[in-house]
Structures are given as structure tokens and as C-alpha cells.
Symmetry: C2
Subunit: 490 residues, 2 copies
């Protein structure tokens, strides 16, 4: 007989009942070929003695196995492993279940080796972090949002709403976006022109998958938001890199490129371009619109950062003009709240929104409809508007203060252009201070920052990174700049 | 001079300041070619009179336009539209901004016409809904979850955590999943083998994109979860449909198919197969594992519905056996809470998880890390375990009751096999009652149900739909069955 007392180990502290642990372990032994089809198992009394358990527990385990068709009880003969199970060549006992099937790399081939460096997992915990440009959760109306969310979970009629949900987003939020986008951005749209997504990123992904055919030329800034570039390449695009200067994307260069190559799609970030933070100038916006009409270009206008503009009011998007439905407009609601919420939107002609919703359904059936409904309420009752206004003031001050700190402590080391808006500075470090070394030293000093690798999109190495100032209060800004000053002095 | 008083309309109730409305409208007029580059604008005094506004408001608007480089103030000469703007051929006045650029279909071509029928938008509101198999939000520990979530939003050190977040999910939740999956499912894994996704659907999408090369044969059940089929076909797969009977997928048929075609990937739903609710029998599971080893198949094991099994304990997944890392195991945490939360997971070898995280980042930077952290707490403190146990009992009773109601009121009309677990019945309607007609009639009677089209995956029309019973209380079940009985009697 097999040494069941050592093969079956019981964890009395587990949330799994003991009888079920026995059953599960016996199934494993059968599947591993250690117990063979048709072989006899000890009777429940004998097994109970071996395992030092109450007999009832073993009886329950056998009943369980019987119900799952792994064993058969033959009256007056005993308990047998089912005959119809296939034979398995047993492995060595010592391997047991302790050798995880997942321990090594997978045995099969798979077809992507993406080049995105995944951020390291959250085991290291620095208190200070330089982010890409995030809002300050501490300013956000989270209390009001939580109140809404919580009351929805108690709403007895919410069921039907959840169950009818649309991959284009909760209808009430799409509806609330229409006057909101009209008043803030001058968009003339209807509910069916709006789709709610998981942040702007999902909107970029959906638009790319719908627009790009393998081999298509897509014009992007140089540099550009690196994850957009990868999304486009993933979808089969060939990137045509258009220089970005202090006025934003060089539209003359785009015009030249349009003459040379059959460019079908342009991706632009007119406000606070990512990563460089420059804003597309008025004349270039108009030139771009002319090119769009002339070449029937599809435009992905990524306006992730619309709400925060300091030196003037936000500039109206391309989407607010006459463009015959050629502009897919992308934005983010939760850039004004907290990056953890991830609610963005896409504005497009209805037939495009429909297909985008179909595609989104394949990726992620639907959004968090309770959260979307709560946000709709906060837009309608003006909470989001008031919060945006308030944080716009705070971020304005923070930008000015952060720039002063940089000038004071890192002059000659960090070069930047004061951004007209947004949540980050594009900080170009002097060649003498290579970012990988600075980042490594900063980490020793308790500050996590990326090493600039993510911003190297074309041939150029800018030795630069985005330094998000919006989420840092006065004390934290001083700390961050202090650490940077020490990190470069080493 | 242009009739500015009729071209510029002011909305005094808007959240946008009046000066900004003027500026925005003037920008539109310039962009539309109605006001030409270099042309003179009325002085601020004159414009104020035309618009019947205070002069300061117009001055502010002009300053705004100046800051945005749309106009130039020439001392002692007046205010001019910038010279360097490109000329635009003007449209007719009457078109104005009231004609939305998004009103029609888009002018450019795009390359997907997905065949998924998007559910109709949520404007119709029926109180009664037949869903696919959803949990009952009213039973879920939402109070405890809200408490956790809310306290996180107030946590002053949460910032760094949010900002370091990993597309594979919050580390604490991945960590909490290891003992949870080990005790409930017998998985022997480490934190790096787990990734948190937006529901099981995103895990299916990521796995498909990583595994499938265009032209690959993928074996699926016939019928099968229709959105999985579409995901696979989207990724370029050719589907090989394997019949599903009362014992789950016919593994002999799969063996035959493996001999004929170079099948690389198998998608299985061993517990409560979708849509048919059958559970893969013990012997077929073992046969399947042998095929996996023999042909080095990659398996996508979709165990979305693991936690709810009534006639026996849940059956251990294929992933808990020796499979050399060939099984990508997919499940859902929030199937036990509410469908609106959408937190699922994928278990795979570390190199696969890494690539899946990279791909997820392109689609949706990261999850809701506050919610993920809150769920980690509920798993660790046992709330999820206790809730699962409690709702398992409730759903068991509901299954029995719902089946009795069907037998009582729809015998001979609806044919079904009592499922061993899960949240839905696979209800096959007699040919005499075509589902589109039944659904239309039910809608008139105040019940929304799908018309069965989504389940037609192969050649067969089952005239069937999944009827989720788990989310319905006693009264609602009676109402639903009552409406169905009336709908077929018409």
C-alpha cells in the first residue's frame, strides 16, 4: 500500500475543509499516476487511522471524489479509483506537488517580445517618487466621489443598470460629457459621439487598432509619447517622425513628409506635448487643419492634459473645428482626480465609436459602471469643474515654485522650458550628468525616478525626463530638488 | 465690418468665463476663414458696445488671444489678426459651429467591421433583466470594501504606491493571490506567476495576443464563449470547433483533430462551460493533460466561475497539475463580488506574465490600484473567503429554486440540464418558440433578455440562452419565470 500518511498532508489552518484537502490531494495523486486507475484505496476506517482523522472526514472526502467521478464505491468490495481514467506514467515521488509547473519558463513558444521596459514591481518602496506628471490625490474631491460610489452600491435598482451596461460606457456619463466637452472645449457633439475608456491610453489603443493597417505610415512627434509609438508599431504602422520644437510639432516638416509618403494618420498632442511639454502654436494648428483636409488625414488628437493651462486659457482642440469627422479626440477625466481611477474618453463619429466599443468589449467587457455613474454625478453637480479650477490654481503655483527651485539649485545642470501648462517639466540634464547614473544615485538617497530610457524614441538621446511637479507639495518639491542636487554633485 | 454681435453669442450660464467664450469664438471665426489673417478687429471699446458687455471683458478676451498668438496689438494702430496664420477658404456663415464635424460618418477609412453585436445603449430601462450569470451585488461585502477603499484615499503615503504601479497589478494583491489560489485551487505558484487584469476578459485577450500567430489553429468548444472566439479570430486564429456534450469538451474529438491539424492552442472552460454550463469530467481532464504533453499544446484554462460549485467541491484546475508551464490559468475575483468591479487574474510562467504585463500597459497603463489594494485586504482578512462561502449557499438554493420554477411553468418549452455549479442555466427553448420572438415579447412585458444570437457560434442555432439565476432573489425569479411563461404563450 502507498504511504498515504506522508503523501497526504493536512493543513488545519487552511480555509479549505480537511475533507476537501484529502480529496484534492488524492485527485493529484491519481492525475500524477501515483495512484493508478482501478486500484483499491484503503477503506475509510483504515484511511482515517493512517491520517489520524475522524472517520467521518474520510467518508466525506470519498463522497466528494465519488461525486466528481474519480472513485467508485463497490458495495462489500471497497473503494476503487475509476477504471475509465487514462493511465499516466508516474513521476518520482520526490517531485510531488512541491515542484511548481510554473517554476520555469514556459515550454511553448509565444510571439511577442515587446520592447517596453516594465517598471520594476512595487517591492522597493521609496517615499519620494518623480512621476511623469500626475495630479495630487490629496486635492481631489475623493470624499464626494466615495459618497456617490457607496450610495450606488446600496441602490436597489442598480442591478439592471449594471447588467445592461455598454462597452462604450455608462450612458449617464456619456450624456454628462456632452455639455461638459461643449463648454470646456467647444466640441459640438452628441452622446453617441462619446465613448468612455480606461484612461486616455485605452482610447489610443482602440483608435490605433481601428485605424492602422499593417504598413500604414503614421506621423508622430520626435520625440513622442513612447507608449503611443509602441501601440502604433504593434498595430503594424511605420512611424514617420516629425521634429518637435518650442512651437510643438513642425507642421512644415509634416507637409513635406505628406508629399513624399502616403501618410494616413497623424498623432498629435497639441497641449503640453508629451514628453516635451510644448504647446502647438496657433498658426501651426491652422496649417495642420489644412493638411488634414488636403490629404484626408485621420488625426488622433491626444489632449490628455487639457484642463491645466496657466499662461492663458486652454487652447481649443482641433476637434472643435470643421474637420468632417477626421479628428479622433482623446482625453482624460481622471487626470483631474487621481491616476488610479483611469477614466478617459474618445470623441469620434458614431460609426467609429460603435466599432471602438465592439473592440473594447473584446478587451475588457465594460468599465466600472458604478464609478462611471458616480463621476457623471460629480460632473453634473459641478464638483469636477470646481475641483479643476481649484487645482489649476494650485498647480500653477507649484509650477512656478518648482521652476524657481530648479533655477536656484540646478542651474547649468538641468535645462528646461517653462511649460505653459500641464503637470510636468521636461528636464534636460547636461551631458555631464548621464541620467542612469543620476537615477541610481537618487535611489540611494531615497528618491525613485526613471532613468530617461523611456523617452528615447528616435535616434536622439535627450538625457531628459519628465518631472511631475503637480503632485508634490512645497516640502516635497524642496526634498526632490534637494536630492537631485546631491545626486549630481557626487 | 463683420456682424460680430450675431457671430459671437454669449452664454451667461456657462461655467466658462465670458471673456474666454469671446476668445474661443473669435478663434473659431479665424480658423473657419471668416476672419482673415492680418485683418483688423474692432477696438475693445467698440467691440464691447457691439456685444453689450463691459469693456474690461473684451480687453481680457483680447489679452487671451494675444497670449495664444492669434492676434497682435499694434500700439496706436489697433488690434490685428496675426499675419503668419494660413489663409482659409471660408465656409458659409450659416454652417457656423452648429454643424457638428461629428454629425455624419467619418470621412476616412478604417479597417475593422467587427461582428460583435454591441448591446443597445442604456436608455431603455427595464427593471427585470436576464443576465448571463452575474453575482448578486446585494450580497457582496461592499461596505467592507468601501471602507478599505475610502481609507486608502486618505492615506498620506499612498502616493508613492500609485506612482510606482506595475501593469501586472498592485504587488500586495498579487502576493495575496498566492496563498489564496494555493488553498482554493491547489496552484503551486509565486507572486511573479500572477498578474491582475480587468476581469477574465482582459486575460483572455492578452493571452490570445501573446500566443496566436496569424494562421494558428486554436481548438475551442462548439459552442463556446462567443467573445473568446472573436478574440481568437481577431488575433488571426483559425478555429477548430470541438463538440461539447454533457461531459464537457469531447477530448476524443480533440485527439482526432490534433492528429489531423497542427493545433497549437486549446481554450477550455472546465467548470460550468460557457454557454452550456457542463463540467469537464475527471477522465476527460486526464486525457486532455495527456494530449497537452503529447502535442506540447498551450492551454488557456478559463475558470471564470470556479468558486461556485454545488453538487461537489470545485474541481481542481488543470493548472494545479504537472504541465511544464503549458497552462495559462485565468480567473476572476470579482465574479464573487459585482460585475462592475472587473478584477481578474492570469497565472502563467514568469516570462509570459512579463510580456502580458508589457502588452497590458499599452492597452491600459495600470489597474485601479486603490481598489486592487482594498481587495488584497479583503482576501487577506478572509472577507472574500467568507463571502464566497455564504453566497455559494445562497446561489445553491437559488439554482434549485429556479430549476423548480422552470419545471413548473416552462416544462416542455425550456429544456435544460441542471448545472453542477455556476450562476446560470443553459436554457434551450423548443423550436416552436424562436428566441427573437420570445425576447421581443418579454421586452413588452418589462423584461430585458438577449435573443440568443450571441450564442450562435458554429453552424448550429441552439435557440438557447444563458439565464443567470444567481443575481435574482426569490421574488425576482418568480417574476422572470412568470414573464417568460406569458411571453411564450402569446
Amino acid at each position: 500500500m502507498l504511504p498515504f500518511q506522508s503523501l497526504i498532508s493536512i493543513d488545519k489552518n487552511s480555509i479549505i475543509p480537511v475533507y476537501q484537502q484529502i480529496a484534492n490531494r488524492l485527485v493529484s495523486l491519481i492525475r500524477e499516476g501515483i495512484i493508478r486507475p482501478g486500484s483499491a484505496l484503503p477503506g475509510s476506517r483504515e484511511m482515517a487511522e493512517l491520517l489520524q482523522l475522524h472517520r467521518k472526514t474520510v467518508v466525506a472526502a470519498y463522497e466528494e471524489l465519488n461525486a466528481q467521478d474519480w472513485i467508485e464505491s463497490v458495495p462489500r468490495k471497497g473503494v476503487f479509483v475509476a477504471q475509465n481514467l487514462p493511465e499516466v506514467k508516474p513521476r518520482k515521488f520526490t517531485e510531488g506537488v512541491s515542484v511548481s509547473a510554473y517554476a520555469g519558463n514556459t515550454g511553448f513558444s509565444f510571439n511577442r517580445q515587446l520592447i517596453v521596459p516594465a517598471p520594476s514591481s512595487g517591492v522597493q518602496k521609496q517615499r519620494l517618487v518623480i512621476n511623469d506628471g500626475f495630479p495630487d490625490l490629496r486635492l481631489a474631491p475623493m470624499e464626494a466621489l466615495m459618497r456617490e460610489y457607496r450610495s450606488l452600491t446600496k441602490n436597489k435598482t442598480i442591478h439592471a443598470m449594471i447588467e445592461r451596461s455598454d462597452p462604450a460606457g455608462v450612458y449617464s456619463l456619456r450624456e454628462a460629457m456632452v455639455p461638459y466637452l461643449s463648454s470646456t472645449r467647444g466640441l459640438s457633439i452628441q452622446t453617441n459621439n462619446v465613448m468612455i475608456t480606461r484612461g486616455a491610453q485605452m482610447a489610443i489603443y482602440l483608435a490605433a487598432r481601428l485605424l492602422i493597417q499593417p504598413g500604414d505610415y503614421v506621423a508622430v512627434g520626435d520625440p513622442n509619447y513612447h507608449l503611443a509609438n509602441i501601440v502604433f508599431e504593434e498595430a503594424g504602422a511605420k512611424l514617420v517622425r516629425i521634429p518637435v520644437d518650442e512651437q510643438g510639432m513642425d507642421i512644415d516638416a509634416l507637409a513635406t513628409a505628406c508629399k513624399k509618403k502616403k501618410i494616413r494618420i497623424v498623432y498629435v498632442i497639441p497641449h503640453h506635448h508629451h514628453p516635451t511639454t510644448t504647446t502647438l502654436s496657433a498658426d501651426r494648428r491652422m496649417q495642420l487643419l489644412q493638411l488634414v483636409r488636403q490629404y484626408k488625414l485621420a488625426v488622433i488628437e491626444d489632449d490628455y492634459d487639457f484642463s491645466f493651462h496657466y499662461d492663458s486659457a486652454p487652447i481649443l482642440p482641433l476637434a472643435s473645428t470643421h474637420h468632417d469627422g477626421c479628428v479622433i479626440y482623446i482625453g482624460s477625466v481622471t487626470k483631474v482626480l487621481t491616476p488610479s481611477l483611469r477614466i478617459g474618453f474618445m470623441v469620434a463619429p458614431e460609426n467609429f465609436i460603435k466599432q471602438a466599443a465592439n473592440l473594447r468589449r473584446l478587451i475588457d467587457l465594460r468599465g466600472d459602471n458604478l464609478m462611471e455613474t458616480a463621476i457623471a454625478t460629480l460632473i453634473r453637480n459641478g464638483d469636477i469643474g470646481r475641483h479643476t479650477k481649484k487645482s489649476n490654481k494650485v498647480y500653477h503655483q507649484r509650477r512656478d515654485m518648482f521652476c524657481s527651485l530648479l533655477d536656484e539649485h540646478l542651474s547649468g545642470i538641468v535645462n528646461y522650458q517653462k511649460p505653459a501648462g500641464g503637470m510636468a517639466i521636461w528636464a534636460r540634464f547636461h551631458r555631464q550628468y548621464p541620467l542612469p547614473a543620476v537615477a541610481a544615485r537618487a535611489l540611494e538617497l531615497g528618491l525613485f525616478m526613471n532613468n530617461g530610457a523611456a523617452y528615447v524614441t528616435g535616434k536622439a538621446n535627450y538625457n531628459a525626463l519628465r518631472v511631475g511637479f503637480a503632485s508634490l507639495n512645497e516640502k516635497e518639491m524642496q526634498e526632490v530638488v534637494g536630492v537631485l542636487a546631491r545626486a549630481v554633485k557626487k
